[in-house]
Amino acid sequence: MNELAERIEKLLAEARRLSEDSAGMAQRIQSEVVQGVAAEGRVVAYANGFGVVHDVQLDPLAMRELDNMTLGEAIRDAIIAAERASEAVRNEVLDELRVEGRSVREIFEQGPDLSGLEAQINRLRSL
């Protein structure tokens, strides 16, 4: 049981550190501004690190030089580019946040490593 108690204490300490670190990182992701550009710079979309698009700017020339179909495609492409840039920023930040040696991004993508926890639970049930 000492081994289990030590592991739980270690996990709680990790959880406290993670809580402090994640608050700062969420703030950092929120304050990031990324952009996506299309139609040779005539359309620019802006998003924060969470992927929320908050602005779409058009060059005055875009209205004269692009027809409505091409303008719609350019706006779509700019927004998608901004969202991808936002995802790259978010992944970079999540890579820095680590739990027991694994990045939070890796845990999001692959799931938690439950093998050790499962063994501990089975040991507890057998006591």
Binding site: I79, E83, E118
Partner: protein
Amino acid sequence: MAQPHFTRSGSAETDARLRDAQALIGRLQDAFASLPEQQHSAVDSSGTITVTVDGSGQLLDVAVSAHAVRNFRYAEIGPAVLEALQGARTLGMQGMQAAVEEASGTDVGASNLSSDAALPHTFLPLDLRTTEDTA
């Protein structure tokens, strides 16, 4: 993702609950898998910009009317696009919540989602997106 599997079986009631949970997970996975096949469109209040997203929130299309290009000032297009984008993603989120409600038999407030909420570019859980989605 590997599902946890506990080797020592508990009571019949516990086993029944585990089976129910596994069935629920299967229904939710099916519901999420069908989301990219859905489409949701919204029009801005001027009626000139239409945005279409799929059921997971991915942007598919932005349609600008010929009227907008002829009569709008360039600075008016961006806000109209954001309004339509927000509307389409709100519809997508409501569709996802409705799918969750149907799969789980619980009320998660699908009809109460505010269109004022700032929605990210996708709301499908990371592990349920396809490789193409995350590329």
